[in-house]
Symmetry: C2
Subunit: 242 residues, 2 copies
Amino acid sequence: MPITLSTARSVPVSALSFAQSFTGRSHAVGRPVTLTDHLNDLQGYGARLHYLRNEVIFNQDDPAEHVYRILGGTVRLCRYMPDGRRHIIDFLMPGDLMGFVESPDLPASAEAVSDVTLIAFPRVCFDRLARDSADVRRQLLCHLSTSLLTAQQHMFVLGCQKSKERMASFLLRLADRMDLGGGDRLDLAMSRQDIADHLGLTIETISRSITALRSEGAILVPNTHQIVLRDMVALRVLAAEE
Amino acid sequence: MPITLSTARSVPVSALSFAQSFTGRSHAVGRPVTLTDHLNDLQGYGARLHYLRNEVIFNQDDPAEHVYRILGGTVRLCRYMPDGRRHIIDFLMPGDLMGFVESPDLPASAEAVSDVTLIAFPRVCFDRLARDSADVRRQLLCHLSTSLLTAQQHMFVLGCQKSKERMASFLLRLADRMDLGGGDRLDLAMSRQDIADHLGLTIETISRSITALRSEGAILVPNTHQIVLRDMVALRVLAAEE
DNA sequence: CGAAGTCTTGAATTCTATCAATAGGGGTGG
DNA sequence: CCACCCCTATTGATAGAATTCAAGACTTCG
């Protein structure tokens, strides 16, 4: 059973505007210190890396030697099954972290959806940080807990929802993570195929779901890779969020 | 969004025969010390509780004040959505732990599938234990990581597999957790409806899947609540494990 | 501008859900 | 101990949803 796993996001995007400067010195004041802040303390050990669209960042069975913080672009975290089926566990975006799961091997592959910039920290450095700081450990537990919560939410989507409902859930979550509300333009970095493999549907069904949401007036689709969430209430009802 | 979460198993059932004696003294030697062992050190603070079939152990939005170790019986961990749909995140069995997620509120309800015996430890006691012991913290990270791995595996089942494949995956996992192999009788404590809500199918489809697997010779069904895994190879192929 | 890749739409098929009826099983009371 | 009843599970028929197969439209990029 060649199964492993590795990641998940945890830091609210909204909190990142501060840390984004990435000075490597002491943390911003007036807000909770995040795992991201602590990672910044490791700046000297981090390698800034770039990946082109569709490049592989790490492979499913590679040894887990780094932890990552994404600075720019979108990453897809996926698992390939023996028979070739692919499941996209999650999409990771700027500010998200990955590679924190305790597992000798990585349980998933990470690939660049768009061009990606990230910082890779050696695991041994991070482990030292965790050993010496109670706060880092606490943040790490929160990070994993949040990942688990996200996973359980997605299990509900996959297990209980119909195609249109899944699409609504996906769009709402994406908007939430990008700190967008109704009316804003949502940029979809990923292809329809990526969305399909994330939601457990086919590319055709994704396309039809989008068409259906549009004809109901819930969304606008100015172009293929942008969507406007026009009727948040309708979307939330579909996503069973209220 | 009244969503929370709380639990997951982590300790291999096989490791529990040792700890099962529950003496509360020092740990058995010659094998890794588990989170379960550490919990045993809290014996004096633990309350042994009993629940009848279908009784609620804790509710979705209760404050998270305890961590639990299951001694006997089967627990279902479920989430109820606003519209009434139910998703069973996982079934927990003797030796399994729950309640370790860092979240003020519990993200799921726990209910007794069969009569259940468990020990509840106050969270504050456990937190103290975690504060004072580096090994507890390490085990806790492993526990959460394992939970996340399990969740990701189940996402694949829900996202990619057909009904018969889901049933095969479910039976194999159950057998694995109970330390059973091919030929042994597998006791199903849960109802068809429970299985359906776990696998994202209906009770009728569960029934038909079982019938199909039986008529293919993959399993035997001596009675409604027992199943013999007759052809492990066929089941593993269906479950995409090889 | 052309070509390759991606997305949308349509039609037919397959799978699962739904509706409905029957069968089985466990527990209770006669 | 058996009969009955209720609850659960199975099976059948039909409807609905998503997939598959196929064609055409739109983008993107060389």
